[in-house]
Point group: C2
Chain length 246, copies 2
């Protein structure tokens, strides 16, 4: 992990860009984090739109986390932002668009081709990032995961024992195999569902919530579309992490 | 409204029993409430098991509300506790039990006979209680309603403009007419759903949540049965009232 830039934001948060091999990422640490008082960490997932485009929302989430005493980190997704294009996933997106525009049902094949390669590639990258981040003296455990594609969060929650709690955003296009994996999740979960999300099958989201094996899981459903998560819902998610990571 | 007893609880909360005509009730006010600083009010709904049996849970909710600066009040339901028996509703309960024990579907007729007379009678009683409570100098607005049968809370939210926000508990046996009324509700709602509630049809609860006309409505679903609402879910409901009644 190489830091490539460093700046102190006006609220004292230290923002550092890094690269991990070919993967760009950003780490935010609260002013209070030090080797004698290492901060717990929240991994910030995000949709595959590129870190540049996602930066305003990511830095807002990171500042909120830092105010609660958490470090936060994110990495670029494969095929997004400055990373090399990924023709197979672009093909799957084109197939999805075509099906949606034609008003056809989205087949399991399209969903699998769209999501599973991403899950396969991203999860080990998050794990490598976790290795590097937890080696920093100012970062400690426990670790939470927040947001991004719910299929990635689900797989991570199953395979990565260092993740202690997760905030997941309900979304569509979840492969059947992820439903099976959801039954193996045991960590506390806080699932956000936008009730009127135009790009979301509500019934599928409720079935996935039902499938999770966690003893503590909470669903917070709010009105509005995909980007309309109300501020109080963000506060509730932050309180969930404070309850589980401190 | 006549106060029949008065005691100061160890956290400074003033607990007063009262009667309103034939209806017994209890009012709790925080130590800080006075005519120069009247407290907003939360009406505490409860299932028809009698105030005596419900007292431990009611006083716990009232103390929590008082710690947040709210007065809280409750009244006995008709046919419960020390109030006269109500043969028609007892008959409907017996019919319900018989249907459940026989494994038969619960007909709309049984549900209507079980719930609608209660709604018809209780809602005006809550409104009369509200008249009396808001006439007390130490009680001000705004007013919230919390808990009890969701059909009662729904009707109250439609017909009583002095209620500004409501916390509702999803429950079964909701008459079809209440679904129609739900579309007329416009106040902010916070709906609690116990995901594994043995006495609750989850799908019906989700449909009722969907039906509410409120622009701000939130569903909090948690694991566990009817009485297993986790403490953090109670905190979230309290924060909802603080957001809307202060």
């Amino acid at each position: 992990m190489h830091f490539t830039s460093e700046q102190r934001l006006d609220d004292g948060v230290l923002e550092r860009e890094f690269t991990l091999g070919e993967i760009p990422g950003i780490l935010w640490t609260p002013e209070s984090a030090s080797s004698s008082a290492p901060a717990p960490l929240i991994l910030l997932g995000h949709p595959p739109l590129g870190l540049g485009k996602m930066y305003p929302r990511l830095v807002a989430r990171a500042r909120h986390s830092a105010a609660d005493g958490f470090a936060a980190a994110t990495i670029e997704l494969p095929g997004s932002g400055d990373r090399p294009r990924w023709p197979a996933v672009e093909q799957a997106r084109a197939d999805l668009r075509r099906a949606l525009e034609a008003g056809e049902p989205v087949s399991d094949e399209i969903v699998d081709a769209l999501v599973l390669p991403l899950v396969e590639k991203v999860v080990p990258e998050w794990q490598a990032a976790l290795d590097a981040l937890l080696a920093l003296p100012e970062i400690g455990g426990p670790v939470g995961y927040s947001g991004g594609l719910i299929s990635i969060g689900t797989r991570l929650a199953v395979v990565e024992p260092r993740i202690s709690a997760a905030v997941l955003f309900a979304g569509s296009f979840v492969p059947r195999t992820i439903f099976d994996e959801a039954r193996q999740v045991t960590i506390p979960l806080h699932v956000l569902l936008q009730w009127d999300d135009e790009g979301n099958e509500r019934q599928q989201a409720l079935e996935l919530f039902d499938a999770f094996g966690s003893e503590e899981k909470t669903l917070h459903a709010n009105m509005g579309g995909h980007a309309g998560v109300p501020q109080f819902a963000g506060e509730a998610a932050a309180q969930f992490f404070t309850r589980h990571l401190k």
